[in-house]
Amino acid sequence: MRSPFKTFLASGNVFIWGCAAGVSVSLLMVFGLLLLIVINGLGYFWTSNVVDLTLKSGQHVMGQLAGREVIPRSVTPDRPEGKGRLRVKIGNRDINGLDFKWVNEDQIVSQAYPADAALLERREWGNMYGRVKAVYKGETLQVEGNDAGWIALAPLISATNDLHQQIARIEQIEIGSINAELEQARLKTRSFELGKERGSLNDLTAQIAAAESRYQAKTVELDALRTQFDEYSVLMVDANGQEKQISVGQIIRALHPNEMGLLHKSWIYLTNVWSVVSTEPREANTEGGIFPAIFGTVMMVIIMSLVVAPFGVLAALYLREYARQGVMVRLVRIAVNNLAGVPSIVFGVFGLGFFIYAIGGTLDTLFFPERLPTPTFGTGGILWASLTLALLTVPVVIVATEEGLAAVPREFREGSLALGATKLETMLKVVIPSALPGILTGLILAMARAAGEVAPLMLTGVVKLAPSLPVDGSWPFFHFDRKFMHLGFHIYDVGFQSPNVEAAKPMVYITTLVLIAVVVLLNCTAIVLRNHLRKKYAGSVL
């Protein structure tokens, strides 16, 4: 007769509870992490009301509330009731020197939400909180007073935003192409000097002269636009009466948050989200958007996938289908599996030594001697970073593909062979299509790993601010030698290398959120593709 306790143990209930608890804890951690990131990240886009705090000292603090914490009693023995303190985003970095300020609650006399409190988003120095006093055109007073100034400001801002776009277009596209042309001509001159290029040096000189005169014309045009851009200025006054005159060109958007309804705020919220994912960073990455980082991440992952998929699949095909199964293959397999466990920074060092210095350096001396000593491929770039990550993730693809191939029933192969197919035909027509879902699973894992990897990139081509995207309008359109920005590195850079850590904190969460979203999106694409294939080749085991 078994004791009840033993019977209870043998029933397996404890085991099931243990399993369930394991799953629950894992889920809790995952969702907790996601929730933290989502709340902190998405909260940043919301325009909260501008509060005006009057302190006992008579001073005013105006800004957006950014948090509250209770001061521990041990720190403030004189206040046993444990007063709280508020964290206020006061902006006006050019006046105050900081973006955030702690205000003890017992110092606050009154708290108001004035309807005319204005929030100016600026291209530099962060947000400004205050009231409009006057609008100037050059030195002459145009409009005076809070309400009149505010009304006059709105059209000016939209005009300067248009101008800003125009200037950016001229700078980046028109002058950019002239610069590219000049650079081409310079390189040709150089290779002419090296005795490689045939043709007339005079032609080149003429070409350079023509391009430079066009450049001069553009500069004149730009100067005119810039003057126009800075023509108007607005005199702002902060909560303590301090005045500050800023150019309207510096203002991206002016809002009266306290007057805005829910609908208006939601609209602003959406435009904020859009501008973060679609614009370039400002202010040492702590403000503006993260578009170049998104672009760099996605492009790098795509290049990596294009490289790793054929390599991994071919390697796995050879190992599983063609190689004689023996000690050698076993050793190779063990080596491949171990490769997956090598710390990623090691791959970074390898990428730097092999891809950049050995291969890139050789390419430079062979094909781009006229550019030396400035390296072209002999320095970090998106191609080398992608190749390094491909190397890092190739074991994942090999292992998954091998499993996929092993899971293709022998009957399929024999059925095909018995019909007179050769081994290659059997592979191409039956085995690989059936193993494709498994192969894609491997690719999904590889992509997820690659998108999140930062350490090797820091050695192979990622930068905190890339002047241009790896894809643009100038020949040959794809610039694989260019350095690029990456979301993972952006998190590190903004969060830990930024001069203004407090202001950058929301950016860290947003970047994290976007990185996760990018990985999920890439994976979803691959999963949809896999499910499509699975349906097509229904009955395959994976």
């Binding site: 024999e414 059925g415 062979l417 080749y537 229904a538």
Partner: protein, 289 residues
């Protein structure tokens, strides 16, 4: 009682191979009138040995398979029926260390010869497997797979071949309206007949069937057995089966194999009513195996 356990495990020790072979040959020689002269030998095996690495699986097999007849291989599990069958389209070539000795003449040409194109051989010797193995493709694509491999691209021609194959396998009426549907939507018996259609589509001379009905219900089995009668008008069928009633029902000739040796080969009627070997008699009457 015969056989004693030791004898069944190691017959080569208790019974010299040469005598065994002699007996088989003897059996053939004793019944030459079983064969009418009008029948031609499609496939002749002479002294075939087969090895998996160092272990021998088939011992000096001699057999002559008649054209347009159904020949069945019977015998207990592991006796080498399937191995022998898979030698006939050289599917055993895939196995590492597999080696075959002796002559296997298909229409007088040794199929293991150096100048034999293996894909051509497999085109002439089709095979249907124990477990139905349609490819993860549509019904149409399954049947068209073989012809496509052998270079037929013309759509109308393919359509015709697919229709003929499916009709030959008695499946046409059931699937003609859903040719583009996945082959996995078919029932087990239909899948097996699809595999037969797929094999027929490359127009083989010989069809090897490796226990084609072992996973099927009686109705599906009956359909495939019926099919065999019509198939033998066109080609030569060799069927491996565990089911002796099936062998008795469908085959013209029966070979009884035991532990890698061909114990007895003759007309089905004779094997089942008046076997010349005691082992055969014991197996058929269910005393062992």
């Amino acid at each position: 009682m015969y056989p004693s356990p030791s004898v069944t495990q190691q017959p080569s020790q208790s019974q010299p191979l040469s005598s065994q072979r002699f007996d088989v040959q003897d059996g053939h020689l004793q019944s030459p009138d079983n064969r009418s002269n009008s029948q031609a030998v499609k496939l002749a095996l002479q002294q075939v040995n087969f090895f998996y690495g160092s272990s021998q699986a088939l011992f000096k097999i001699d057999i002559e398979i008649m054209k347009n007849q159904v020949t069945s291989f019977i015998g207990p599990s592991g006796c080498g029926k399937s191995t022998l069958l898979r030698c006939l389209n050289r599917l055993n070539d895939l196995i590492e260390g597999a080696r075959v000795e002796g002559a296997m003449l298909l229409d007088g040409v040794d199929i293991n010869g150096h100048d034999v194109d293996i894909t051509d051989l497999r085109k002439r010797v089709g095979m249907v497997f124990q477990k139905s193995n349609p490819f993860p493709k549509s019904i149409y694509e399954n049947v068209a797979y073989g012809p496509r491999l052998h270079g037929i691209r013309n759509r109308a021609q393919l359509d015709q071949i697919v229709e003929e194959g499916l009709k030959g396998a008695g499946l046409w009426e059931e699937v003609k309206d859903r040719l583009q549907a996945s082959a996995f939507g078919l029932s087990g018996g239909q899948q097996q007949r699809l595999c037969i259609a797929r094999a027929l589509a490359v127009k083989p001379d010989v069809l090897l069937m490796d226990e084609p009905c072992s996973a099927l219900d009686p109705v599906a089995t009956a359909k495939i057995e019926e099919l065999l009668f019509s198939l033998k008008q066109e080609l030569t069928v060799i069927i491996v089966t565990h089911n002796m009633q099936q062998a008795a029902r469908v085959s013209d000739w029966t070979a009884f194999m035991y532990l890698g040796e061909m114990v007895e080969f003759g007309l089905t009627k004779q094997i089942f009513t008046n076997p010349s070997k005691k082992q055969t008699d014991d197996y058929i009457t269910g005393r062992f195996g």
